[in-house]
Symmetry: C2
Subunit: 402 residues, 2 copies
């Protein structure tokens, strides 16, 4: 009996599990995750802003594991020893595999900027997202006592997909914060500091402008073309002039870091030649040095033949990689040839708050309330694709259509 | 205790039920339908073409009825007596109401064209859709014996939304038919006869052309600008010249009627001033003569203030009407004022087969495989909106993403 180990219960790992569990063959699966729940990484901003409770974006891994075929092991991976085909855990235990699917996901990336880890809030999992929300509530209560205007200021560092969606949800929930602080909604000040000037380059100018202009209209102040140089306690230091290196400071009691992510540190710790935690894999998603190992999701970089650059890291691509890695694992078990990974984007839609969204369906632009409907339908569907079928029902996400 | 009666368990009726069951108040609900199941009327073409079994597009009404609040009565409505506030059934029994939501749905409309009822197959409910599929299988088996080429011909009368989606599914399933008949797929001949020349006027020319040109590429022959004058057994008679009235004939053993629908005959039978079974209602969806009665879905015509014409009959609008009628019913029970119905289309997407679709998200055109993904996500969502939550899971419609 062959042992297939899946590391990580995110989009890629659970999609792989779903395919493997649905397939016949003489193999057993062990799924490993440090948490006993799956969460929808694309919805963390809602927990951070308080527009969704954590229960709505997570479900128990136990609910999608079939015990006849799969063992779930809650443990934290330290390193992968590909020579001896063993996973080493931080508690000194270990686990052997015949086939391995590495889907360890992402971490926050500071890009070496001083003070980020110490003085900015990261948003990388349900706990850190919830910490942001609780932090926000605390600042609002504190404002009632001290009237320090910095308590009402929220700075989002980074105007990428995540930063923009987070700003949308913060706008959406501004009223709750204002009520606690005893102020008007407009007094909650939202800022976004970003190094580049052309925001959301995956969308055309018209579409990006739709998203950004709405946020501006709702009161978000964008500081673009301003690389962040340091985060001091309660202060964002950003460069205003590339030639002179002149900087300015923005003070705020809430500073959230969404400028970028890297793959899990486990990759470098396991002697992978990883760049920002991403390993360049073969076209069939296999490890270049070990054909019985597949590397997928945010720890994986696979070349897009069309652009000759790696595909971006998205939930959509992670789901598809998880599917293909599982299929290729099954091919190997049966002694068959593996298949190359192919991907054509279905597009992506960014929500800004509950009733606005914009993005692409395939290559076709959509925006406004209808796009927001489409976004929600697709988000619900992603829950199904990770296998969390019976969990969808409890999420109460189906009642907005009236 | 007030008695609220809902007639019909389609999109509008079940959406109303869902809202009423979720609301507090001193009332009891009786839901009436002639069947003990709900079916997704927008998916009948898949059952007719054999690409989905009936189980996938229908679920038991019992699964969405909360017995503490609602009684389900399986019976066939004969007439509504609004004076005495009673529903008369075809079995001579009757039922009283305080408030009524009429959501009796649609019927096939022959427009008085001779032979339609006798010689064409209608597609108005699960039974009639399944009848088409069984009829098709029978023709294919018969072909093996007699080699009559008319047995391989399928004529869809009408190139509206339903006709086009049906043609897409027939193309999709042509292989199955061909195998039974012992022929090549191309030998199954698909025709579409339509009176107008500008097809799918709800979409712009570019988008309509995408859908129609794909069907043509897949072998569908369109006869447009050809009003059907008569259906004889195995023969469609259509006009080729409006001035001379000259006609031609197309012989085929399968003739499917999708040229249009009307609201239930019960409306006219109940002395409603109905045009093609549709009753012009007030802006709050109430019956102009009886404020305790709401008329919704395909039996209802409500003016769109933007166009000064009635809204079209779609599942989307039926869902929204069901919602508003239930809300207004609750207002009346509480002695409050009713609210006007407002509707802004989220757009509509037509599937042609399993991997192609085209249409509008809001007012924005989408097409191709990504549009097909969006369509499926939205279709799944509509299942939730009628309250058939636990039924969604059994439908197995979530595995296409690979």
């Amino acid at each position: 009996m062959k042992e297939v180990v899946i590391l990580g219960a995110g989009y890629a790992g659970l999609r792989a599990l779903h395919v493997l569990q649905g397939s016949k063959g003489d193999f057993h699966i062990t799924l490993v995750d440090k948490n006993d729940y799956h969460y929808e990484a694309t919805d963390l901003h809602e927990v951070a802003a308080g527009t969704q409770p954590r229960e709505r974006i997570s479900y128990d891994i136990a609910d999608v594991v079939r015990p006849q075929k799969t063992t779930f092991l809650q443990n934290e991976v330290a390193t992968i020893d590909r020579q001896s085909q063993r996973i080493m855990f931080t508690d000194q235990t270990s686990l052997s595999y015949d086939y391995l699917i590495v889907a360890l996901g992402f971490e926050s990336e500071s890009f070496g900027i001083p003070g980020v880890n110490e003085n900015a809030l990261e948003m990388v999992d349900v706990d850190s997202a919830e910490t942001i929300y609780h932090h926000l509530l605390k600042q609002m209560k504190e404002y009632k006592k001290t009237q320090d205007p910095d308590l009402l200021k929220i700075v989002v560092c980074g105007a990428g997909f995540t930063g923009v969606e987070l700003l949308g949800s913060l706008v959406e929930n501004r009223k709750e914060f204002a009520e606690i602080a005893g102020v008007q909604s407009e007094e909650i000040k939202l800022f976004c500091v970003e190094a580049v000037t052309r925001l959301l380059p995956m969308f055309d100018e018209n579409l990006s402008a739709y998203g950004i202009n709405n946020l501006v209209k709702w009161g978000v102040e964008f500081l673009t073309g301003k690389p962040i140089k340091e985060i001091k306690p309660g202060v964002v230091v950003y460069q205003t002039d590339a030639e002179t290196g002149a900087t300015e400071e923005l003070s705020a009691k809430t500073i959230i870091w969404t400028t970028g992510v890297s793959g899990s540190h486990v990759m470098a710790d396991s002697n992978y030649a990883a760049r920002r935690g991403r390993v360049m894999v073969n076209q069939d998603l296999s490890d270049p040095e070990h054909s019985n190992v597949f590397v997928v999701g945010d720890v994986s970089a696979v070349m897009d033949p069309a652009t000759n650059r790696p595909y971006p890291t998205t939930a959509q691509i992670a789901l598809k990689m998880g599917y293909q890695a599982a299929k290729n694992c099954l091919h190997l078990i049966k002694g068959e040839k593996t298949e190359d990974f192919h991907f054509e984007s279905l597009g992506s839609v960014a929500s800004i708050g509950n009733t606005h969204a914009f993005g692409l369906v395939g290559k076709m632009p959509v925006k406004g309330y209808p796009a927001s409907f489409v976004k929600k339908a697709i988000m619900d569907r992603s829950l199904f694709l990770t296998g969390g079928v019976k969990e969808v029902l409890a999420k109460g996400r189906f009642d907005f259509y009236h």
